[in-house]
Amino acid sequence: MALLDLSSVTMRFGGLIAVNELDLQLDAGHLYGLIGPNGAGKTTVFNVITGVYTPTSGKIRFNGAEIGGQKTVRITRRGIARTFQNIRLFGDMSVVDNVKVAFHCRQGADVGAAVLRSPKHSSEEARVERESLELLKIFRLESLAGEKARNLPYGSQRRLEIARAMATSPKLLLLDEPAAGMNPHEAQELMDLIRWVRDRFGMAILLVEHNMKVVMGICEIVHVLDYGSTVAIGKPAEIQANPEVIEAYLGGA
């Protein structure tokens, strides 16, 4: 059974059908791409999966459980993490604290323990500190751990967003345009990083991206959307040769 299974999911905003009868299956350990022209509904798909919107109709099953319309928090705790198209870091917090926040949902000790400084709270804090720094090391951000997130250069902010998402220990990672605004060199580094993260943690990754070099370079299966409907699904090479995809992007001849 697929890790994430969308069956005929529709998302309607008034008269606008943003996502139309979408079927999407993702398996653990694979890299998927979701592409399509502007306004094709890619980000809406992310928002439906992560519970920002409740789908108008259709079923979303994750790991065997129905998650359609659940609150974002619950879905994150089940194991779906995401990054945002326009970076949404906690700007005034330090880099390491950004990651620590995401560890919170796996922590047991709460307010009472914090006020009383219980041993459980202290030991958990120490563990979170250690694991956060390890994660930052993986993303080569450890030298910036004490810096405020908003002071980071753009590429590092993108990496930090992925690191933060990883801290929720996801089974599925959704990346919304991770290479946006990156130069070719940074994009290449990012591709290596995404592939490496997948190999190391074995989760499924779904990425929305406009940079075709990135999509075709790392995705194993590419899903093409246009006007909320599936145009094609296949390996990158097949997609590049598909006349319907070319038409969706360039318009009919």
Binding site: T50, V52, K71, T72, V73, T76, R77, A81, R82, F84, R88, L89, F90, G91, D92, M93, D97, K100, V101, A102, F103, H104, C105, R106, Q107, A109, D110, V111, A113, A114, V115, R117, H121, E124, E125, V128, R140, S143, L144, A145, G146, E147, R164, A165, A167, T168, E189, D192, L193, W196
Partner: protein, 336 residues
């Protein structure tokens, strides 16, 4: 162990100062009753400002209803001492009078804190779904509802005001609870839970997506803050021995907001500084008679022009003493 010694030391210092100020250590050390009252009211302001900063500064939820929760704490605890005071005192007759009064005060404050927390919960659950201006308006409304509600309870004096409250609070207890408030807020902010609050302030949508139960975090911080405002209110009543709902209008809430804004939203030491500075300015300018409030407003304007982020900004006072360490910008190593 270190914490224990520090608390014992703090209690000893407060106790000695209390004795000194009231003339217990000889007339040379005593200070004028007026000055003592100003110092005590400053301490109550510290409690209110630091607790409000937890919501407005750290969690970023703009509440203008703090005076309402202060009022609940003030009236509830005063009601406890006035109504049950004699019973509690006679039940504890084996203790010296001073100890009996102290126990009575602590019990009354606890009742006030609990009721204020309950009110905070009831107000917080529906209101905290709103953001920005909407939350401000709703909390302002609830604050006034609480005040008018109390104004119509005859058992606590209604429009006549609530007189006959015994003077149980003093310098010692006010500053003791100010220290407790600071400690609680400090520990919350420096905890895993506290990070979720700041994350909500920085970006609520991202916080939610990172697995933070934002509603729960916001409500808890609101409840804790309300409880501490209740303690502040209880001390206020037991210090001035008289309560009137006119002390708890939304102008009081605005006063507390001014304190945390001039001190720096999101800075505990900033709130302490703001609370003390506020009363120092309003009292210090009494010489200026009719120009007092004009000068006060001008001072506030100057502070906001010079330090729009508040005197301390987001930072704590101690962070100005240690030289800011520039982190080395090591060129990133290649992956793997």
């Amino acid at each position: 162990m270190r914490g224990f010694l520090l608390s014992v030391g703090l209690v000893a210092v407060l106790y000695t100062l209390n004795a000194a100020f009231t003339g217990g250590l000889g007339p040379a050390l005593a200070i004028s009753p007026y000055f003592l009252q100003v110092i005590c009211l400053a301490g109550i302001n510290v409690i209110l400002a630091v607790s409000l900063n937890l919501i407005n500064g750290f969690t970023g939820q703009f509440s203008i209803g703090h005076a309402g929760f202060m009022a609940i704490g003030a009236y509830a605890s005063a009601f406890v001492t006035v109504t049950f005071g004699e019973k509690v005192r006679s039940a504890l007759s084996f203790l010296p009078m001073e100890a009996r009064n102290d126990i009575l005060l602590v019990v009354a404050l606890a009742v006030g804190a609990v009721l204020a927390a309950v009110a905070g919960f009831l107000v917080g659950v529906p209101s905290l779904r709103l953001r920005g201006d909407y939350l401000a308006i709703v909390t302002l409304g609830f604050g006034e509802i609480i005040r008018v509600f109390i104004l119509n309870i005859d058992a606590v004096g209604g429009a006549r005001g609530y007189a006959g409250i015994p003077k149980l609070a003093n310098f010692f207890w006010i500053y003791f609870f100010a220290a407790v408030t600071i400690l609680i807020v400090y520990r919350i902010v420096r905890s895993s839970f506290g990070r979720t609050l700041v994350a909500i302030r920085e970006d609520e949508i991202a916080a939610e997506a990172m697995g933070v139960d934002t509603t729960r975090s916001k409500v808890i911080s609101f409840v804790v803050s309300s409880a501490m405002a209740g303690v502040g209110g209880g001390l206020f009543g037991h210090y001035l021995m008289y309560l009137h709902t006119n002390s708890f209008t939304f102008l009081k809430s605005i006063e507390i907001i001014i304190m945390i804004v001039i001190g720096g939203l999101g800075s505990i030491t900033g709130s302490v500084l703001g609370a003390v500075l506020y009363i120092a300015m309003t009292e210090g300018l009494r010489e200026a008679a009719q120009y007092r409030m004009i000068l006060f407003s001008l001072l506030l304007i100057v502070i906001m022009i010079v330090r729009p982020q508040g005197i301390l900004g987001h930072r704590e006072f101690a962070s100005f003493l240690t030289r800011r360490r520039r982190l080395p910008t090591v060129p990133p190593a290649p992956i793997r």
